[in-house]
């Protein structure tokens, strides 16, 4: 039913610009795999190479073990869902869905039956004869999915198909897509810049920046053990401290910054001389009145944002660097007031010293870049 996709050292050049740079990844059959990255990172180019619209400048792509070089998009066992869906406005819904069968010469009755069946699968019965213009955004989405499934692809490729929907519908369609993927067992390759989508839906996520694959892992591992600074700052929020690696001792190390020395876990490949930064997730940092033993720095409360289930406290450290901590809204908690002088502390195992990744902003305040990355 489904096939795996294997990319080995795939590159893609547009003139002098290398859009995709030696990407190697093996996507297993039946897996929901997401490429996550900011716009312009090369993720759509990868999708277009897998679907066959552009051929890699170097490297090879295998689908189900078969090399795809020289095989056109109309002969590949893939189906692509476009960002703007690209439904055919002049055909009714059922003809849209059965278009792939029509061009294969399937007779009309079989096509109609298949279209009806797929419409039930995507939970949109009784719409076969509607015009595309009569459908809402979410319904169009479902028709696009049904149309792609009609050709019984081994691999489904999705290019940010949810980006045009409003928040509520997007969250609903996330669950829906995941359910359809599980029901059909087709390999899904999903392209997104929305970390929430990637983390919530995928079996594995590949984080990309500047054409390079930064890390491939499960959503938990991407979030909890980012491979480098780019992944840490792009996925989720972080307090980022610039400074130097003072000392490495096994799994732990000491990181010297202008606001003090901190002990933290050493990330992959970090040595004494590497360019690295210290990352602390807002939810792992705490506030207290007195300086704590271990990692602690004095901060002033700037602003408190009550988000419902949690509270974001925006702080500034001794050098004016923006810091942020997040506390769960438990009714007993004392919410700090703006202007209060407190101490921010974090456990060494919850802080990470990570090497700088490609495409990482060189010098910007921690909370700001983390915030931007999460909204990008």
């Amino acid at each position: 039913m489904s096939e795996g996709v294997e990319l080995s050292a795939v590159c893609c050049d547009f003139g002098d610009f290398r859009a995709v740079d030696h990407v190697s990844v093996t996507i297993k059959p039946g897996e929901f795999f997401s490429f996550l990255g900011p716009s312009g990172c090369g993720k759509t180019t990868i999708l277009r190479m897998v679907s066959g619209f552009i051929s890699p400048s170097e490297g090879e792509i295998k689908i189900g073990g078969q090399n795809m070089r020289g095989i056109g998009p109309n002969k590949r066992p893939t189906a692509l869902i476009f960002q703007n869906l690209a439904l055919f406005p002049l055909m009714p819904v059922w003809e849209n869905i059965s278009f792939g069968l029509e061009v294969r010469g399937v007779d009309k009755e079989t096509r109609r039956a298949k279209a009806e069946e797929l419409l039930r699968l995507v939970d949109l019965p009784n719409s076969a004869d509607k015009a595309i213009s009569q459908l809402s955004g979410g319904q169009k989405q479902r028709v696009a999915i049904a149309r792609a499934l009609a050709v019984e692809p081994k691999v489904m490729l999705l290019d940010e198909p949810l980006s045009a929907l409003d928040l509520k519908l997007r969250q609903h369609m996330r669950a829906e897509l995941r359910a359809i993927q599980k029901r059909t067992g087709v390999t899904f390759i999903y392209i997104t810049h929305d970390q929430g989508e990637a983390l919530a839906m995928s079996d594995r996520v590949g984080v990309m920046s500047q054409g390079k694959l930064q890390q491939v892992d499960t959503p938990q591992a991407i979030y909890n053990q980012p491979a480098n600074g780019f992944v840490a700052s792009f996925v989720g929020e972080n307090n980022i401290f610039t400074g130097t690696v003072e000392n490495v001792a096994g799994q732990m190390g000491t990181f010297g910054t202008s606001v003090g020395n901190f002990t933290a876990a050493i990330g992959p490949g970090v040595t004494r001389n590497s360019a690295a930064r210290l990352y602390v997730r807002p939810e792992y940092a705490h506030l207290q009145a007195a300086p704590a033993a271990g990692n602690s720095l004095p901060v002033a409360v700037e602003n408190v944002a009550f988000e419902g289930n949690f509270i974001n406290v925006h702080l500034s450290d001794a050098h004016g660097g923006a810091r942020i901590i997040q506390m769960r809204n438990d009714k007993a908690i004392a919410v700090p007031a703006p202007g209060e002088r407190l101490h921010m502390s974090f456990a060494p195992e919850n802080a990470m010293i990570l090497a700088d990744g490609a495409g990482q902003p060189a010098s910007r305040s921690a909370a700001q870049s983390a915030l931007e990355a999460s909204h990008a």
Partner: protein, 303 residues
Amino acid sequence: MRELVRRYGLTLAAVFAGLTAFWLLALVVFPYFFLAETSFRHYLPVDQLGGPNDTFTLSNYLTFVSSSSTTPFLFLNVPIHVYIFIETVLFSSVVTIITFSLAYPLAYFLAKVANVKTVPTLFLLLLIPLWVSEILRSFAWYIILSYQGPLNALLGVFGLHQVRWLTAYNGVIVGLVYTYVLFMLFPIYNAISTLDTNQIEAAQDMGARWWQIHRRIILPHSKPGVASGCVMVFMLSAGSIIVPSLLASPSSRWFTEVIQQWMFESQDWNTGSAYAFLLLLICTIFVSVMMRLFKVRLADIAQ
């Protein structure tokens, strides 16, 4: 109208309305009305105009079908002018089909294949021949196609037989296609360039071959452009006079030539006007029937 006055003031609004009225009345309605009136009157010597014989009549229109000389057509003997009319419609249709088959691939190439940067240059190259007058272009083709002309000379270079090109309707078809191909190209180009390229790719992705993509996606999308191009080329061809007279052969006749003969050789403006209206009327009916056959609505063409 009130909106126009409010926006532009009384003077400017009056100028707009006056110019539009002048255009419509003096340049369109009145000449047509004059011709229509003429077509329903007898052709009389000057001294009898306004006399008892100057009455309204249908005889000018009936001349079209009651001509004494006939030509066999299919299984019928049809009056010679009807026969010429049928040939005019027939060969205008041929011209329309040929221009379409030339313009559609070119329009597709310009809209979807050619590099965006080179398109303006290509358009310029297409437009330059249009700067030369229709008469000169027709003469150029007359020279190219003549028996001792450059085309036959070229064939001679390759050791091929010389061909007598200007026989039957060949010259007329070549000349009309060349003159009107851009009227087909531009509407189709406009229509195709509004098609989202993702739709072509989506069809490709679902396994469609190139001809299936054209038949199911690109042609249906460009139908309004194709329709307006076809109507324009057909009507212009059927109403053309310069090309059919200059590139004529002894056996080619065009209905506009008959109208011209009535008006300027027989000096019979009455029958000439009647024939001109018949041309307009029957061509309009023909186009309407074709539009119905190909399921094109008038609103599509006006797009």
